[in-house]
C-alpha cells in the first residue's frame, strides 16, 4: 500500500471511530436504518414491491433487495425472514426469475395447508413491507453452456425451474425471446400438478411450449392419474440421453432416484427444506462447542440435563423470569414446561430459548 492510500485508510477508520463514539451505545447503522434500510453495508433486507396472484393459493412476490444483494444463478433459492404476528419467521423459497435488469428478485409461494409463512405471503403480505434476506444459495442450477435436459417437477417444485427457464427464454410483449445463448439447450419439462387450474406457472409453461422453447408434458392427477415414474420412458423416449433435474415432494424424488439408479442415469434433485419437527417427548441434546451429546427426558429442563452432563451452561433464576440462561437453538424442538407451548427452530432462524423452563420435545442442536 502506498502512502496516500494508507493515509486515506487511516482517515476513514478515524472518521468511523469518531462517528461511532458519537452514537454509542448504538451504532451509526442503527440510525441509518431509520432512513435507508436498503443501503450498502446494512444487514441484507428487501422491500416487497408487489404481490401478484398466480392461482387461488399461490402468488409471486416481487422484492427490491438491498444494495448488497450479490445476485443469483437461476435455480437458486433464498431465505427470507418476515414478521408474522410480531414474530420473525424464516423460510426458503426458490427465486423464480433469472437476474433482472431492474435488480429486483421474485419468489413464487404456494400456500400450503397449515403453512404459517406461505399463507401470510400469499394472502396477507402487502407492498412496502420490509423483509429480511440471506444471499441466494443452492446447487440446483442450470448447467452451462447447454445440453439436453429433462426437468421433472411436481407442485411448487416448478419454482426453481421457472427461474431457469425465464432466464433462458425471457418473455417480451412480442412473445418468447430466443437468445443465442439459449440455443444450445434442448429442454423437456414433465410437470405434475393435482389439476390444471391449480398448476402454478401453467400459462408460462404453455406459452414456452407453444413457442417451441421447451417441450411441456403436463400431467394432471385428475386427468391423467398420479404419475408413475416407470411411465417416464414412454413420455420421454430419449430419456437416456438427457440429464434429469427433479424438484418436488420427497416421495417423487425417492422414486426417481431408484428409477435412475437402476438405469444408470444422471439425476440431480432439489429437496425443499422440509424440516418437519413433530413435538414428542424428550430427545437428544447435542452441544457443538463442548462436543457433548446427552439424551433428555421431556419433563426435565434442558439446563438441568446439560449441567448434569457436564456442559458449562449460563444460568440465572431457574424459574423462567431472568433470561440469564438463554441460548440460541440452532435446530430442534422444545416445549415450555410452564404452559406446554412448543417452539421449533431450523438453522438460521435465530431462535433463542430459555433453557431453564424448556424441555426437549425432539432432538435439539446447540452451538454452545
Amino acid at each position: 500500500m502506498n502512502l496516500p492510500q494508507r493515509a486515506g485508510t487511516v482517515a476513514v477508520v478515524s472518521i468511523t471511530r469518531f462517528i461511532e463514539a458519537a452514537t454509542t451505545p448504538l451504532l451509526p447503522a442503527d440510525y441509518l436504518d431509520l432512513f435507508i434500510p436498503l443501503r450498502a453495508g446494512a444487514d441484507l433486507r428487501g422491500r416487497i414491491v408487489s404481490v401478484t396472484p398466480e392461482t387461488q393459493d399461490a402468488a409471486t412476490i416481487e422484492i427490491q433487495p438491498g444494495a448488497d444483494w450479490a445476485g443469483h444463478v437461476p435455480g437458486q433459492y433464498l431465505r427470507i425472514g418476515i414478521d408474522i404476528d410480531g414474530i420473525r419467521q424464516w423460510r426458503a423459497y426458490s427465486l423464480t426469475h433469472g437476474p433482472r435488469a431492474d435488480g429486483r428478485i421474485a419468489i413464487t409461494v404456494k400456500a400450503v395447508p397449515d403453512g404459517l409463512v406461505s399463507h401470510h405471503l400469499v394472502h396477507r403480505a402487502s407492498p412496502g413491507t420490509l423483509v429480511h434476506l440471506e444471499q441466494a444459495a443452492g446447487e440446483f442450477v442450470l448447467p452451462l453452456p447447454g445440453g439436453r435436459l429433462l426437468f421433472v417437477t411436481a407442485g411448487s417444485g416448478i419454482t426453481p425451474v421457472i427461474g431457469m427457464l425465464r432466464n433462458l427464454f425471457p418473455v417480451s410483449a412480442d412473445g418468447v425471446l430466443k437468445l443465442p445463448r439459449s440455443a444450445a439447450y434442448d429442454i423437456v419439462v414433465v410437470h405434475v400438478a393435482p389439476t390444471r387450474p391449480a398448476s402454478i406457472f401453467r400459462r408460462d409453461l404453455e406459452e414456452l411450449d407453444r413457442s417451441g422453447a421447451i417441450r411441456l408434458i403436463a400431467r394432471y392427477d385428475d386427468e391423467h392419474g398420479v404419475l408413475d415414474v416407470d411411465d417416464l420412458e414412454a413420455l420421454v423416449p430419449d430419456l437416456a440421453q438427457r440429464a434429469t433435474f427433479a424438484c418436488g415432494p420427497a416421495g417423487l424424488l425417492e422414486a426417481l432416484e431408484a428409477h435412475h439408479r437402476v438405469r444408470g442415469l444422471e439425476l440431480q434433485t432439489e429437496k425443499f427444506r422440509t424440516t418437519f419437527h413433530v413435538a414428542g417427548q424428550g430427545g437428544t441434546l447435542s452441544f457443538a462447542a463442548s462436543g457433548t451429546t446427552v439424551s433428555a427426558d421431556g419433563d426435565r429442563p434442558i439446563l438441568d440435563v446439560a449441567e448434569q452432563a457436564g456442559v458449562l451452561m449460563p444460568s440465572g433464576c431457574r424459574m423462567g423470569i431472568c433470561f440469564g440462561c438463554v441460548l440460541p437453538l440452532r435446530e430442534g424442538i422444545v416445549r415450555d414446561l410452564r404452559d406446554g407451548a412448543v417452539t421449533t427452530a431450523t438453522p438460521g432462524d435465530g431462535v433463542v430459548i430459555q433453557t431453564c423452563i424448556s424441555a426437549a420435545a425432539g432432538d435439539c442442536h446447540f452451538d454452545h
Partner: protein
C-alpha cells in the same frame, strides 16, 4: 417496617397454604392469557417506541449543535432528557428483561441490547434480573434494599453512619447511573471484604470503566466538539440531561420498593418457597405509581411495579391491562395493593429514608417541644459505642411503645385500607 414474619399483624396470616397456591394458579392464568394475546400490535408498539426515541435523540442532538442560542439549549436539553429516560426505562430496562425476546428480532433482544447507562447490560442483567427480581425484598439477599449502603429496614441495626443517608440518597439520585454501575459490581461489599483483587471483579471493573469512558466521551467530549462554538453549552446540556434522567430514574425506582406499606421478608422464609409464595412476596414487596398513560410510559411502566414483578417477562405495554385483574386478586385475597400518585409515593419513600437514618423510635418519641433534648440524646448515642447504642435503643423502643399505647388502639393504616390517606 419489620420483616413480615415478625409483624404482630402479619398481613398474610389469614391466607392458608391452599389459598396461596390457588392465588398462584390464578396469576398463572393471567400470564397465560397475555402470552396468548401477545402479537403484531405489541411488536409495533416497541418498534415505534424505539423509532420515536431515536428520532428524538437525533433531533435533540442536532438542535444542541446550536446550543449557544438559549432557545436551542432549552429545547435540545429537554428533548435529550426525555430521550434518555425513554431509552433507559421503557426501552432498555424492558428489552434487557427479555420482554421482547419472543419477537426473534436479533436487534431487539436481551442478549444483544446495550443501553445508554454507565452499567454494562450484562452486569446489570445479572444484578437486576437474577438477584433483585428473584430475591425481591428479602433482607440480606436483595441488594436493591438500600443498595448495600442504606439502612432500608428497622431490622437492620442502626449505626451513626446512617445519619448521613438522606444526603447520600440525594447524591445517589444525582449520579444514579454510576451508583447502579457500582452496585452491579457489588463495589461496596468488595471494598468491605477487601476483595478488589478477585479476577472476576477486575474483569467486570474493566468493562464498567470502558463503558463509562464511552458514555462520558460521547456526552462530554464528542458532542461538545461537534458543537464547535457551542462546546460548553452542549457540555452543560448533556450534564443536565444525564442528571434529569438520573433523578427521574432514581425517584421511580425508589417508588417501586421503598414507600411505606411495602413488606420485607426474612431470609429463612424463602427456603423451599413455592411459586404461589413467590408471587405473594412480589405482590407485597412492590408498590405502584398511579397516573396517566404518559406517566406510565415515562416510568418505563415501572409505575406498574407490582405487575412487573409478578410478570417481569410480559411486554410492558400490557401492564396497564393486567393491573385491574391483579387488583381484583388483591381484593379477593384481602391484601393491600400499594398504589399512590408520584408525589406522595416519592414523599413516602424519602420519609422512610429519613426515618431509618435515625435510631428506631427516635422520630416517634420526638415532638417539637422535646426536640432539643432528643437531639442531645441522639448526639450521645452517636458518640457512644455499640453497647451504649443498644441500651439507648432499648429504652427508646420501650418509650415509643408506651407513647403508641397512650395514643389508644393501634391503627394499622395501610393494612386493610385500599387507599392510603396520603393519596386522597
Amino acid at each position: 417496617m419489620t420483616v413480615i414474619q415478625k409483624k404482630a399483624d402479619n398481613p398474610i396470616a389469614h391466607l392458608s397454604a391452599q389459598d396461596i397456591e390457588e392465588l398462584g394458579r390464578e396469576l398463572d392464568a393471567i400470564r397465560q392469557r397475555f402470552l396468548a394475546e401477545r402479537g403484531a400490535s405489541d411488536a409495533a408498539y416497541i418498534r415505534s417506541m424505539i423509532k420515536t426515541q431515536r428520532y428524538l435523540e437525533l433531533g435533540s442532538r442536532a438542535v444542541l449543535l446550536f446550543s449557544l442560542f438559549p432557545p436551542a439549549w432549552v429545547v435540545g436539553t429537554a428533548g435529550l432528557s426525555i430521550s434518555k429516560i425513554l431509552e433507559n426505562m421503557e426501552i432498555g430496562h424492558n428489552v434487557l428483561h427479555g420482554q421482547w425476546d419472543w419477537m426473534r428480532d436479533p436487534k431487539i433482544h436481551s442478549t444483544t441490547w446495550e443501553w445508554d447507562s454507565a452499567s454494562p447490560s450484562d452486569q446489570w442483567k445479572h444484578a437486576h434480573n437474577e438477584v433483585h427480581h428473584n430475591y425481591t425484598n428479602v433482607i440480606g439477599k436483595d441488594n436493591d434494599l438500600g443498595y448495600g449502603i442504606f439502612r432500608a429496614d428497622e431490622d437492620q441495626p442502626w449505626h451513626p453512619a446512617h445519619l448521613g443517608q438522606p444526603l447520600w440518597n440525594f447524591v445517589n439520585a444525582l449520579i444514579f447511573e454510576y451508583g447502579i454501575a457500582a452496585y452491579d459490581l457489588e463495589l461496596g461489599a468488595r471494598l468491605k471484604r477487601k476483595q478488589l483483587d478477585d479476577p472476576e471483579f477486575k474483569a467486570n471493573g474493566k468493562q464498567v470503566l470502558k463503558k463509562i469512558r464511552r458514555q462520558a466521551g460521547k456526552d462530554y467530549l464528542i458532542h461538545p466538539l461537534l458543537s464547535g462554538p457551542s462546546f460548553f453549552h452542549t457540555l452543560g446540556a448533556n450534564v443536565v440531561a444525564n442528571v434529569v434522567r438520573n433523578v427521574w430514574a432514581h425517584s421511580v425506582i425508589m417508588c417501586g420498593h421503598f414507600p411505606e406499606g411495602v413488606e420485607t421478608f426474612e431470609k429463612r422464609s424463602i427456603e423451599g418457597e413455592t411459586k404461589g409464595e413467590w408471587y405473594v412476596r412480589q405482590m407485597l414487596g412492590s408498590a405502584n405509581i398511579s397516573g396517566s398513560r404518559l406517566m406510565h410510559i415515562m416510568t418505563g411502566n415501572l409505575s406498574h411495579q407490582i405487575e412487573h414483578h409478578l410478570f417481569p417477562d410480559l411486554p410492558s405495554n400490557r401492564y396497564a391491562e393486567i393491573a385491574p385483574l391483579v387488583q381484583e386478586l388483591f381484593e379477593k385475597y384481602d391484601l393491600t395493593y400499594c398504589a399512590r400518585p408520584l408525589v406522595p409515593q416519592v414523599y413516602s419513600a424519602w420519609h422512610k429514608v429519613f426515618r431509618l437514618s435515625l435510631p428506631n423510635g427516635w422520630l416517634d418519641t420526638t415532638t417539637p417541644r422535646n426536640l432539643p433534648s432528643q437531639l442531645v440524646k441522639l448526639y450521645k448515642i452517636s458518640r457512644g459505642g455499640a453497647k451504649v447504642r443498644r441500651a439507648a435503643q432499648a429504652r427508646m423502643t420501650q418509650e415509643a411503645r408506651r407513647i403508641a399505647a397512650e395514643r389508644g388502639p393501634v391503627v394499622v393504616p395501610q393494612r386493610r385500607v385500599r387507599r392510603d390517606p396520603l393519596a386522597a
